[in-house]
């Protein structure tokens, strides 16, 4: 390998997952001793690219060059042997082992008779480098998130890699911790390791990176020097090419009910006032949801959207502020309590948080509304069955029989069954988390239809998801969170994909009054 040759080159690498193209002949070069930052929106292909580089995923086509040699990275283990170490977002540290034990996990050295030997000099040096030199004997579970992140980096560095991949290392860190991490990264680089640094936070790039690669739609669409302005980067990420006002989309917006003037002025079904999270995921959020309205809530992964939605659904208790449903105050004790007050919750991550695998379709649908129908706990079988039949029809769940196990249905039909379960409680407000994830086109259409039907009957819907185009289509209004604060309230006229994207990065393209100015003290508006 000559001094000038790059560490890793990807050439025309393509990858599809069950027909969906994640990487579209992407090419990227990482030079020696450089820190290359990789930015892009959700679904731009960053994760897939990292997974290919660290051997977790095999590309469909394309070439990987390590130094000057063409290689195939068959497994993460092989990637490490080839000198590519990766620190994933949720790192695999073992909490009940010490720092030193975690550092040598999986490559312990033993003395005679199988006794474990003391930590090697390299691993201690790696700890020293990240500033955890005196913590070798501490338990990982006693460390802060930032310290764990540093430990994960130390573990990767102690492998003496040529290339270190960091996947959103600052996502969970405070500004001070981020600053320190940037220093550590500089140290790692000057010790002769190249870096590929993936992030959503554009502010830190100027300090960290030597070069910024922007990904969009499965390709690297631009490479820029670190001093590039944030505004320019955001525009590159969002893509200028996106049609701002797609007539077809506007046509298909499901907001007939909300168009009716009287309902625009109707009393809100959901009112949040100054709501703050216990763990600080969001602070001082206020908004109203009117009958017939579909309200989107969007933000980057660290914006606090997930936590806010869980709070609205009663699955998370706020530290401050009030949430009212149709004039009644939510106490935030449990989803059951929220359900009784009229909030239906279609939780995200269907397999883990939605479906109960030992239940039939009929039992699934009946579960949430059961306590409304029982008398002294007795289930009136015929009434429940009749309601189930009705809901199956209404939600177009394609099941041969209510008695078939719910897990035998397709993803889309499972989701419709879960929607039916929510509808069985006659909710005033439905909170849905990424309801169309893993749902086919026809299933999506049915879910949009159900949402608009709900709105026509005066219900309100809170909708989150990573698909901004969908949010622009489905929602009447969208709130944008940025690191736990409400930064924009986009009205229907300004709802389109680029605007949402820019707003997520706290950038505006419109001069609308509804966009909250940064210097506004409370961020309050109705």
């Amino acid at each position: 390998m000559t001094a000038a040759s790059p560490v890793l080159v990807l050439r025309d690498v393509a990858k599809s997952f069950s027909g969906v193209r994640a990487l579209n002949r992407v090419s990227l070069r990482i030079e020696r001793d450089e820190c290359c930052a990789l930015v892009g929106a959700n679904g731009a292909g960053k994760s897939t690219l990292i997974n290919i580089a660290c051997g977790a995923v095999q590309p469909d086509s394309g070439v990987l060059l390590l130094g000057d040699d063409e290689t195939t990275i068959r497994s993460p283990h092989m990637a490490i042997e080839l000198g590519i170490a990766t620190v994933h977002q949720h790192d695999q540290l073992v909490p009940n082992l010490t720092v030193a034990e975690n550092l040598s996990l999986g490559r312990e050295r033993t003395k005679a008779a199988g006794l474990l030997s003391n930590p090697t000099r390299e691993s201690l040096a790696a700890l020293e480098m990240v500033g955890l030199g005196d913590r070798a004997d501490d338990l990982v579970e006693s460390m802060t998130l930032a310290e764990r992140q540093l430990l994960a980096i130390a573990r990767a560095v102690s492998l003496r890699p040529r290339l270190l991949i960091l996947d959103e290392p600052t996502a969970a860190l405070t500004p001070n911790e981020t600053k320190y991490l940037v220093e550590v990264i500089e140290r790692v680089r000057s010790a002769g390791t190249s870096l590929l640094y993936v992030t959503h936070r554009l502010q830190e790039l100027e300090e960290v990176a030597d070069r910024i690669a922007v990904m969009r739609d499965g390709q690297v669409v631009a490479e820029r020097p670190p001093e590039t302005s944030e505004a320019e980067l955001v525009e590159l990420i969002a893509g200028k090419g996106i049609v701002a006002h797609d007539e077809e989309l506007v046509e298909r917006r499901r907001r007939r009910a909300f168009d009716r003037h009287e309902e625009r002025n109707a009393e809100a079904v959901l009112v949040a006032r100054g709501v703050s999270d216990r763990e600080g995921a969001f602070t001082d959020i206020s908004f109203q949801l009117r009958p017939g309205e579909v309200l989107g809530i969007v933000g980057l992964p660290d914006a606090g959207v997930v936590q806010l939605v869980e709070t609205l659904a009663g699955a998370r208790r706020p530290s401050d502020g009030t949430i009212e449903v149709a004039g009644e105050r939510l106490r935030g004790r449990s989803p059951r309590e929220a359900g009784r007050r009229g909030i239906g919750y279609l939780a995200g991550d269907r397999a883990r948080r939605g479906v109960i695998p030992n239940a039939s379709v009929g039992e699934t649908i009946a579960l949430s509304g059961l306590s409304r129908m029982t008398r002294l706990g007795f289930i009136p079988g015929r009434r429940v069955a009749a309601q189930g039949e009705h809901l199956l029809e209404q939600c177009q769940v394609n099941a041969a029989d209510p008695s078939v196990p719910v897990v035998t249905l397709s993803g889309g039909n499972q989701q419709k069954a879960l929607f039916a379960r929510v509808l069985a409680t006659h909710p005033r407000v439905v909170v849905c988390e990424d309801p169309t994830a893993g749902v086919d086109v026809a299933g999506r259409e049915s879910i949009y239809g159900l949402v608009s039907e709900l709105c026509e009957h005066g219900g309100g819907v809170v909708w989150t998801g990573s698909d901004l185009r969908e949010i622009a289509t489905v929602c009447d209004r969208a709130l944008v969170l940025w690191r736990g604060t409400l930064v924009a309230d986009l009205q229907r006229e300004e709802l389109d994909e680029p605007t949402l994207m820019l707003a997520q990065f706290k950038r505006t393209v419109t001069t609308s009054q509804s966009v909250i100015r940064q210097d506004h003290p409370r961020g309050e508006y109705v």
């Binding site: 939780a347 030992n358 239940a359 579960l367 026809a442």
Partner: protein, 338 residues
Amino acid sequence: MSEVSNDRSPTAAVPRPRRGPALRRLRSVAIAPESAVFVVLLLLSIGMAIGSSNFATEFNLQNVGRQTSALAVLCAGVLFVLLVGGIDLSIAGVIGLTAVVAARLAQSMPPAEAFLLAALVATGIGLLNGFLIALGGLSPIVVTLAMGQALLGVALLLSPNGPIQVSDPAYGELAAAKIGPVPTLVVAALVCLVLAHLLLRRFSLGRYIYSVGGNEKAAWLAGVPTRAVKLTAYAIGGMFAGIAGILLSSRTGSGEATQGTTIMLEAYAAVFIGGVGFGTGRGTVVGVALGALVLGVIGNGIDLLGIDGNWQYIVSGGLIIFAISLARVAETFKRRHA
């Protein structure tokens, strides 16, 4: 799993295809784990009837019924706790304590009242278990193990002179009497089993119990009061263990503190033979009752054939492993042909 698409238009009512519900039901009964246990029971019984002329007699079958009653009731209690993803190892202690308490109380009051009070004590212990586990967040295996240990001590202290013999003949009446040809003990057990079955099938509590066992997080998010459900399941487990203790005590006409140890292991054997999953929220009253009967017939058979009684442990241990292997094979098969 095949992707089934719907009509795109939301207004068009889609007629759902129905493929012979009767046939479907028949098929689902045939592949249920309960059917496998039933077949095992049938084969065992036929084998026994051929092997010993004394097996299929009225007297012997009454005997099997008497021997199995307490076990079956205990199994129903264990089922509730296993369904919510827990385990109750205190039932041995609960059985010993209720037997001793009932026997002591029967010295100064009518047996019926003594039984009732003893059952209430058992339910209270179940509630305490549930409270510590569901609300306190303590580990079920540790809490109930410790509870069982402590209860054994209490029962031994309450019977300082060894097993308490009850002089009142009415005490043993529950076990000795018959309604027609059926021993009262069997009737009592059947009442408990039917009650358990109805609770699980016809009441929201049962639905909630299955949902907590299937996916506790999802059940909570769907509005199931998961903690109350778990608490109740432990209370019911305690209650049935207490009733089992009373049935046993009535049969022996005495209260013995160490009465529960063997039967607890038998109960866990029976529920796993009966197709209950560990931490999967799967299992039925019918299954565990059949499981208890299988063990009952094996125990009886070993008696009748004059085999060393210790063989029954080896046989039931082997059956458990056989049962869960069978379930595993069936699961793999289903997945492959789904």
